[in-house]
Structure formats: structure tokens, C-alpha cells
């Protein structure tokens, strides 16, 4: 039985991946410190005899040192995101040291590592779409806005350096914005959560900047499909892969789309929020589109879910689970 260890297992993506792998007959171990993930997300996994959960911080060295089970694939999703004022150092620390801790564990275990990165690493690169070979265009270090991207870029390098030095096979997956059931509604996972919550309450929709920035969105089950294919396919070891969809859209259009899918008859009230009110030294990325040729060619991966369908399911889940 193939044993997959998932860090950040109680999070949105981690929990869905755990479920999928259990369905497919894998043995799964989840680690999460529950700082952002919740145990409820694992309610379908926890009863399984093939699932083990540890409520642990990935920076807990003693725990990792003592972790002696044989693992075949280590999926590293535990991360700290979107540094707000005062949390930049924490972001850098969790993300860079977390990756290092995981790589050390993989080195001892002689197992594969799949690292969850982000399409934010392409930064301000004006040439669309982004292929895995595209330049990473990052703004000034004084802007805390880039701390998360830098921590990911550093981690990517660290993964590949471990692969060189210790022959740990690694994959780097650069994810678009993933949405779907169980996603957080506070903006941590992207604007769609906030829009859904506010649209259901028929409140104004907060849009950052002019709303014309373009982002790539991928539905949860498609992202999980991509990751599962990477896990099952040892032939892709060493590759950096974009995991997204062909659906890039403007944030303002996303707001309108969610508003109409919720079924509100009137026009939405859009509340534009200037970046300078949110962050100091913020720099926006105008557009992100992902070239998915490599994932399609190597994995046969294609994101099938249309955005309307995916959002409908997400709204449905939200209606059933979150309204009190």
C-alpha cells in the first residue's frame, strides 16, 4: 500500500486530497497544526483505518525526528499565506523552515516530495500565459506583498537543491487560485469566498483596486485530479508543473458572476477598496494566465469544470454548511 503523508492535511486542499487518496486505496497520514485548517474537514477521513492524523506544527523538530514510519510520497501543503502587517516574518519562517523540515524528513525516508507552490511566483511578469519556464518578476523587497512569493521561490530552490544533493525526487506544483467546498471565506484563499458570503447576505462586494486584474481559477476537484496524477506518475519526478485551468477572469467579472449565480435580482453594489488602504507599498499583479501544456502533455491533465458549475457547487456547499 502506497503511503502518502500530507502536511496541511486539515486545510481546504489537503483534506480533499486525503479523501481522494483514501478512496483510491492509499494509506494516508495527515499533519496539521489546526492554525488555519479544521478537523471538520477531515470528518470523512478520520474513521478510515488507513488514515492517521497528527495535530502537529511542521516546525516541531522533535516530532519530525521521531517520525519513523515509512512514507512513499510527502505532499507539502502546510503554508502561511498573505502576510498582513506584522506577520511577514512568520510567513517567511513557516514557509522556508517548514519546507526545510519536510525535505529533511524526506531525506531520511528516501521518499518523493511534492511541494505546493503558487502562480504568484510569476509575479509581475507581463508575458502571458506563464509557462513553467517564464521569468519570475518580483517587486521591491521593501513591499511585504512579495514575502509570500519569495518564501515559495526559496522553497522551490531548496526542493531542487535537495534533489541534486540527496537524490530526493521532487515535484513543484504551481497552483492557480483553487476554489470549491470547504474553502475559507475570509479572503485567505482568494476573493471568491468573500464574494459568495457577501452575495448570500446581499451585501456590497468589496473589490480591491479597479477590479480589472485577471486571475486564473481552478475548481478543487480538478486540482486534486492533477495532484493525484502526479502522485501516481513517478515519471514526472523533477518537474515543475502549473496546475490551473483555462479560465482566467477579471475579479470584477467574478464578483458579478457570483452575484448572479446566487440569484440576487438587483445589480450588485461594488465597493472599490484602494490598495493603499489595505497594505503599505502594495503592488498589484495585473494578469495571470497559466500555460498548461506541460501538465497536459506529461499527465494528461485538463481542468474540466467550468467556472459557473464550480461556483454553483461552492455556493451550494456554503448554503448548506455555513449559514447560521
Amino acid at each position: 500500500m502506497i503511503h502518502v503523508l500530507i502536511t496541511g492535511a486539515a486545510g481546504f486542499l489537503g483534506s480533499h486530497l486525503a479523501e481522494r487518496l483514501l478512496e483510491e486505496g492509499f494509506q494516508v497520514t495527515g499533519i496539521d497544526d489546526l492554525s488555519h485548517g479544521i478537523l471538520d474537514n477531515l470528518s470523512r477521513c478520520l474513521p478510515s483505518p488507513h488514515f492517521t492524523f497528527y495535530e502537529k506544527d511542521i516546525l516541531d523538530e522533535r516530532f519530525l525526528m521521531g517520525f519513523s514510519e515509512k512514507v512513499d510520497v510527502l505532499v507539502h501543503f502546510a503554508t502561511y499565506k498573505i502576510p498582513r502587517e506584522g506577520e511577514g516574518l512568520r510567513t517567511l519562517e513557516v514557509n522556508t523552515k517548514g519546507t526545510e523540515a519536510i525535505l529533511k524528513l524526506a531525506r531520511g525516508n528516501r521518499c518523493r516530495v511534492i511541494f505546493g507552490s503558487t502562480d504568484d511566483v510569476y509575479g509581475k511578469n507581463p508575458e502571458l500565459p506563464f509557462s513553467e519556464e517564464s521569468a519570475l518578476v518580483i517587486g521591491n523587497s521593501r513591499s511585504i506583498r512579495w514575502s509570500d512569493a519569495i518564501s515559495k521561490i526559496y522553497s522551490e530552490q531548496l526542493c531542487l537543491a535537495y534533489q541534486d544533493e540527496y537524490q530526493i525526487p521532487v515535484n513543484i506544483l504551481r497552483f492557480a487560485i483553487i476554489y470549491g467546498p470547504r474553502q475559507r471565506m475570509d479572503g485567505w484563499g482568494g476573493p471568491q469566498g468573500v464574494f459568495i458570503e457577501r452575495a448570500l447576505k446581499r451585501e456590497s462586494l468589496p473589490v480591491h483596486g479597479d477590479g480589472l486584474q485577471i486571475r486564473n481559477f481552478v475548481y478543487l476537484s480538478d486540482a486534486v485530479e492533477g495532484i493525484t496524477r502526479v502522485i501516481k506518475n513517478e515519471g514526472v519526478c523533477g518537474e515543475v508543473l502549473n496546475i490551473g485551468s483555462s479560465q482566467s477572469l477579471r475579479i470584477l467579472d467574478l464578483a458579478y458572476l457570483i452575484w448572479s449565480l446566487v440569484g440576487n435580482p438587483e445589480r450588485p453594489n461594488i465597493e472599490f477598496i484602494s490598495y493603499s488602504d489595505l497594505w503599505r507599498d502594495y503592488e498589484d499583479v495585473r494578469a495571470r494566465e497559466l500555460d498548461l501544456t506541460k501538465a497536459k502533455y506529461l499527465l494528461g491533465y485538463e481542468a474540466e469544470t467550468q467556472i459557473e458549475e464550480g461556483l454553483r457547487k461552492t455556493i451550494e456547499w456554503y448554503r448548506e454548511n455555513c449559514r447560521g
Binding site: E85, G86, G88, L89, L92, T96, G123, K124, E132, E133, S134, A135, L136, V137, I138, G139, N140, S141, R142, I144, W146, S147, I150, S151, I153, Y154, E156, Q157, L158, L160, A161, Y162, D164, E165, I172, V240
Partner: protein
């Protein structure tokens, strides 16, 4: 009298800077693990009462704590460079942990920190010259050379975040390639040392790619002077400062100039080496020139040494240590 701790003190920049600081009346503690630096570089100040050398690693926090009692400022130069020939892991590890240790100790003691970053962070940015606000254009992580720039960008972020979250006074110096006596004689020290060696031995100078990639070359005395100004002028605190000369020259022209200074009118011997001969994948940066207006206007930084003058004294030094056997 102020005490300054210089990491990487036995290296090329570190030794010149330590000399300058001692001459200027500072107490200097020089830390170096001598992995690449050498005590010979410190001959002129090793027995000076205002200089103390400590052999140790920048990743050793306990050691830092022990030797930092009286320190008022750290100048963190120690770094691992050039993943061109591999060992990206060492580069990522030493560079990230070194600055983190410095910042942690400095935070406890309220010291100022000068962090040596690099012009390499601007990467392949096509917009020249590079002002301190320019974006970083980094290549694919499959190209190991970028590990150096990325480790330095992480260090820059740490410096600014310690500034924001703990009020620490930090300065990020982005050095553009320096040369001069005591420079490293391998590619680690830049192409000029290789070219000088070849010209002295009447051997062909290896030039990577077509040689039309350009760089600026800063004489080491100017680099040290810029660093001293950033240390002493409060205006630099919380800023990034480019430290370099802004005259542009292609690598090919640099080779020819060095050849001429050493061998006069002999036609230069040049061997072009295509990038594909490097192990792994390699990406070169075509042009790299600093915009130093801020340092000039606010810090009074003027890299005065002309390339001819600087190369002449570098050649003199390198002649003295080259064996022609």
C-alpha cells in the same frame, strides 16, 4: 570607540573593509570560517589592537551571542556564492541562516545591520540601469544559478521585516562586482582574475558565450568606501543602496583591455566557451549596470577609480602571487 562586527572579514571585500574601519578608528571584530577567506588577507591588521579575529561559522548562533557583547553594528558579508558549479544547497542554507542569525542577535542588542546583497537580484531585468526600485527578473528554478539571488532576496526581506516588526535599523547594500588586490582567483571572484592570470601566462582567455554581455566593475577601495558611508550616514537606514561603479564594459572588451595592459600590442588570445558546456543549465545576464544616483547624492559616494588604474594595481598584485612554473 564603536565596535563593528564584520562577517566574512577574511574575504576579499571583508578584509579591505576591515582595514578601512580600523584606519578610521573603529574596533573591529572579524568573523570568518576561512572556507574561502584567508588570514593572509588580514596581515596588515591581524596584530592591530583594534582588530580581533574569530574563526567561526555564521550559522553558529551561540558563537554570535558570545562575541557580540560590545558590538554596535554588524556588517554581514559572509556568503556562499556561485551555484554555477553546483552546491545550490550550501548557497541557500548558509545565506539564509547567516543573515537570520545576525538579525536575531542584532535585535537583542539594538545594533544596526548592513546586509551585503548583490546586483544579481535584478536578474534578467531588461530595464537599465538598475535603480534600487527595479523589479527582479529571475529565471526558472531548474537553473541553479538563481539560488544565489534568491537566497539574497530572502535576506533582504528578513532585513526589512526586522525593521518593520522590531524597529531594527537595517541597510541592504546591493554590490555590483568588485575587483582588486586579494580578489578570488577563480570564477568566484569574477572574470577579471581569470583573464589576468591567462594574460600573465600567455594563455588564451576563456570567454563565456559571445563575450558581449556587459558588466560594471567596481574597484575594491570604492566598494569599501561606499559601505563605510552607508554605515555612518543615518539616511541609509531602512533603504536599499546600490554600491558599484556605473561604467559599462563588455566581457570581451575587458579581456582585451587586460591583455593590452599586460602584453601590450600582442594580439589577445581568446577562447570562446559556449554556455552549453556548463554542467546543468545556465543562464547569463546580458547587461548589468547600476543607477547610483541616490548613493551619490545622499551618501556622497563617488566610485573614482578608473578601470585602467584599478586593473593596473590588481595586475601588480596578481603578478606577485602568480607562480609561472
Amino acid at each position: 570607540m564603536k565596535t563593528i562586527l564584520v562577517t566574512g572579514a577574511a574575504g576579499f571585500i571583508g578584509s579591505h573593509l576591515s582595514e578601512l574601519l580600523v584606519r578610521r578608528g573603529y574596533q573591529v571584530i572579524g568573523l570568518d570560517n576561512l572556507s574561502y577567506g584567508s588570514l593572509q588577507n588580514l596581515t596588515s591588521i591581524l596584530h592591530d589592537s583594534n582588530f580581533r579575529f574569530i574563526q567561526g561559522d555564521v550559522r553558529d548562533r551561540d558563537l554570535f551571542e558570545k562575541i557580540s557583547d560590545s558590538v554596535e553594528a554588524f556588517i554581514h558579508l559572509a556568503a556562499y556564492k556561485i551555484p554555477r558549479y553546483g552546491n545550490a544547497l550550501e548557497t541557500l542554507d548558509v545565506n539564509a541562516k547567516g543573515i537570520e542569525n545576525v538579525l536575531k542577535v542584532a535585535q537583542k542588542r539594538g545594533c544596526k545591520v548592513l546586509f551585503a546583497s548583490t546586483s544579481d537580484v535584478y536578474g534578467k531585468n531588461p530595464n537599465l540601469p538598475y535603480s534600487e526600485n527595479n523589479d527582479f527578473y529571475l529565471g526558472s528554478p531548474q537553473v541553479r544559478r538563481w539560488s544565489y539571488a534568491i537566497s539574497k532576496i530572502l535576506g533582504e526581506h528578513l532585513c526589512f521585516l526586522y525593521g518593520k516588526e522590531y524597529g531594527l535599523r537595517t541597510v541592504v547594500l546591493r554590490y555590483f562586482g568588485s575587483y582588486g588586490p586579494r580578489q578570488n582567483l577563480t570564477w568566484w571572484g569574477g572574470p577579471q582574475s581569470i583573464f589576468i592570470d591567462c594574460a600573465l601566462k600567455n594563455k588564451p582567455m576563456p570567454i563565456h558565450g559571445d563575450g558581449l554581455q556587459t558588466r560594471s566593475f567596481t574597484y575594491i577601495k570604492d566598494t569599501a568606501d561606499g559601505t563605510l558611508r552607508a554605515l555612518e550616514r543615518e539616511e541609509a537606514t531602512g533603504r536599499v543602496v546600490n554600491i558599484g561603479a556605473d561604467a559599462e564594459i563588455s566581457i570581451l572588451d575587458l579581456g582585451k583591455k587586460i591583455w593590452k595592459l599586460i602584453r601590450g600590442s600582442d594580439p589577445p588570445q581568446i577562447e570562446f566557451i559556449p554556455y552549453r558546456q556548463f554542467p546543468g543549465r545556465y543562464e547569463d545576464v546580458r547587461r548589468r549596470i547600476p543607477d547610483i544616483r541616490w548613493a551619490r547624492e545622499v551618501l556622497g559616494f563617488h566610485p573614482r577609480t578608473s578601470l585602467d588604474e584599478g586593473l593596473q594595481s590588481t595586475i601588480e598584485w596578481q603578478k606577485g602571487i602568480t607562480s609561472f612554473g
